[in-house]
Symmetry: C2
Subunit: 552 residues, 2 copies
Amino acid sequence: MLEVDCSVLTPEIVFKTSGHVDRFADWMCKDPKFGDILRADHFVEEILEARLKGNKKARGQKVDEEEDGKKKKKKIKGAQEAVPLSKEVVKEYEEVLAKIDNYSGPELGELIRKYDLRHPKSDMQPTEPVAFNLMFGTKIGPSSNLAGYLRPETAQGQFMNFAKLLEFNQGAMPFASASVGKSYRNEISPRAGLLRVREFLMAEIEHFVDPESGKKHARFHEVEDVELDLLDRHTQLSGQTTITKMTIGKAVKDGIVDNETLGYFLARIYLFLKKIGVDMRKVRFRQHMANEMTDKPLLVRQRLETPRTVSEWEVTIERKKFGPWFKKDSKAVEAVILSSTQECREKWAKELEDSGKAIIEVPGLGNVDVNKDLLQVEYRSRTEHVRDYTPNVIEPSFGIGRILYALCEHAYWWREGGDEARSVLSFPPAIAPTKVIIMPLSSNKDFIPHVTRLSQKLRAAQISTRVDDSSASIGKRYSRNDELGTSLGLTVDFQTLKDGTITLRERDTTRQVRADTDTILTAIREIVGGSKTWEDIEKELPVFESQDVEDQ
Amino acid sequence: MLEVDCSVLTPEIVFKTSGHVDRFADWMCKDPKFGDILRADHFVEEILEARLKGNKKARGQKVDEEEDGKKKKKKIKGAQEAVPLSKEVVKEYEEVLAKIDNYSGPELGELIRKYDLRHPKSDMQPTEPVAFNLMFGTKIGPSSNLAGYLRPETAQGQFMNFAKLLEFNQGAMPFASASVGKSYRNEISPRAGLLRVREFLMAEIEHFVDPESGKKHARFHEVEDVELDLLDRHTQLSGQTTITKMTIGKAVKDGIVDNETLGYFLARIYLFLKKIGVDMRKVRFRQHMANEMTDKPLLVRQRLETPRTVSEWEVTIERKKFGPWFKKDSKAVEAVILSSTQECREKWAKELEDSGKAIIEVPGLGNVDVNKDLLQVEYRSRTEHVRDYTPNVIEPSFGIGRILYALCEHAYWWREGGDEARSVLSFPPAIAPTKVIIMPLSSNKDFIPHVTRLSQKLRAAQISTRVDDSSASIGKRYSRNDELGTSLGLTVDFQTLKDGTITLRERDTTRQVRADTDTILTAIREIVGGSKTWEDIEKELPVFESQDVEDQ
């Protein structure tokens, strides 16, 4: 992939063209009494969920409080009342919730009125949802008259540079660009943690393919056996959330996933998340309900090895007569004609021949008659030496903060033992911020040169380490480094002073091995580099039970 | 160092506190006739430089046109006229230019009037310089009433997180934080290229030290023999630009560089720039003329191993009488008293004892008499178990774009040969975007599996490569990859099909060696990793003269 770093500050014209200035908005409403600003879809979701929970309580059913506790996004206090609901109402609410991401502002307003959704604080329905543009605006330049925005995604920068990237790739398709950088959205209700923030790190890939290639992917066979949990659009539209488990190979073959390239990226994302430690039993792939693509001036010119003959219905507009005839409507009629399909054109050709006029449906005007002195439609052949086309784009997009959040939630647990539960963050070595904690057993000065040498050697091997030489007990120090997610622990003790051996401890199992320094450093490199697991190392090196603290 | 990634969007209060809202500005003036907006210091600099050049021309001296051509920042057209200047005026202009970065807005205005500096377009003096704040403003939140700014530097984020970083470092000093990220300045006149842009990548280190430590650095001895070109503040103030060459060890010893920590970073910066390929004959270290430090609420609490007795002059203000006595001036007088040095306090104590009143100099009020019923000053002792102090900060700060720009300029050259000069970018392997270009000698299909295998092996070794299998001649392909700065070239030819050997070519020398695949891949790893140079490899492997193209 061609990695690019594009600017965040963007002149208004770019986002005007892409449609963001007009349409990149969330639906916002207000509590009419207290002025609380609410995101309309969140408001509907939270009140309906609270009613469903209240229904369970009213019927004496157990409410899953842990589940409730985990949903950190809850904001509206006092929404939950123990009121019984009919079976039909429960089913209706559940269907609304299943497709909550797919409602427009007016539809959300209708739901608020239909179900009489009131803010518990005021006991009133919020105002009609209005669009709130999520882009941060600013002014560029000393005279401050050039409007600009902070980018809300990194895609535009890659599209703007498409021609350069294609040239750099020597005109060859398919190819992908990639970008990692900050994007900015002026969220109506940012929530706790990293799930919804106004400034966030995102990684986006734009994979450009020739639409005629059928979106085949040369490396699809490498991933076709990867099994995914899928939630398709059809299931969601029916108000269900049932998961289908299948290999990506089968999903593409059966048309559940549209093409190989899309399937390839889904599988690679699965493998990536698994590798960094996300619990894949908690992950599903949900098909988007609505497709948002904006027009971009992307063009690929392909030199054809053998020229080809193209036969098509072509339209010719007699502009001199066309404009004066249709006056203010002429642009609208012309647009429909120029963007028409071959099928339409064939139909018009027949109509023009039969009756001297084509009947053309124009949005906003209805059926319009166009006489043959204004429009000709003919079937013509021509020879092409190049083929110009607009590529299709597959856009894998990653919110790094959200991935990190899920990872932390999945990696966090605690072990019983001693007086208190001790927290552990089970980050895989590949992504643990610190790979190795180096600890002298005590503050004995003889340990210092050993600790320094180990630290230097690991730094030279580009393995991130920290030294914990505080006066806390060895158990306490292991404990707090477990909580920081540090994968491995190295201890220098009195035995080290005698024979140069050190112990290596693995965080999750708390088990240890002991060997000479070089052997242990090799083991660390293998674990961190991913070529061996802790289980492999335990089979190779002598297991060690506990530090011989009596030597002190 | 503790790397942190802080937010770019910053609430106004942060930059109000740091002084940026009031003072982070450049001086801007306008052409009164045409409205051209000018940065005042640039305007003065450019007109004076143009006059000096005009003087040379008038005297028939050679003007270094190449030098002139390189100064891409020149913007004002027509400023240069061939007018002779007296020796005294030339000296005066040169002195002004040597300290051009150190003038305030009113001083720049004075220079414009004194030397009658006119914009050549209007033949008029620009307007009086006014401060133009360089921060980009925006509004945060759905009700859009919270003012915010894009950060103009990354330092504030690190200072804001100081307490957390200190805790993470277990309270131990010294320590450093570091940040790499975008910053934003609404420059009055951004220039071509990467030297002055409104959005830029910067890397900043904040190295916090205990001021009582004398700013010693534990690893200073590792760099003390590094020799630097220094331009000190004193030389600049005298209007000169003479360079002094000396080791950083001597510079610190002689007090030319203030302390070891500062010296350590200067030397490390020198070594870093050299390593990435900057031509160090073109680099000097210029001491800043004015020091800009803003107050930050940084506090370190050090637990003292042995409690210490502190004896000091302490001031006690009788607030009940003090306020009514000084009325509106009381805050100003109190501020001077509370921030006074021990020397001042000792003097006041003596004055109070001798005459019953202390004479205190208050800015804006002159000398103020303070009677002994309003103020007592006494020498007292107390025992301290902790020591609270504000750390000193050493702030190495890097504009990545500027470094890249210098690097490109230093690395670019061309070699004679054939019909046209061919450009080369001599990036060291460590920073070349592509390390290796892989090329089949021709489009013969038998080469493809070899090219694919080489590409996979290098990717597995995390060495960035590209394949150039276009139909251009091998010489043309070498040439264009030299221009892209690609360090090494691998060629698969007919000999490869027979015995598996490949050639490795070095960009700057255009020399080649030939050996079996594994040997060549090892050589690539060694060169890219920095453990061997091309000269080493040439001694080890058979030199190869030219591709045996007859086999085709």
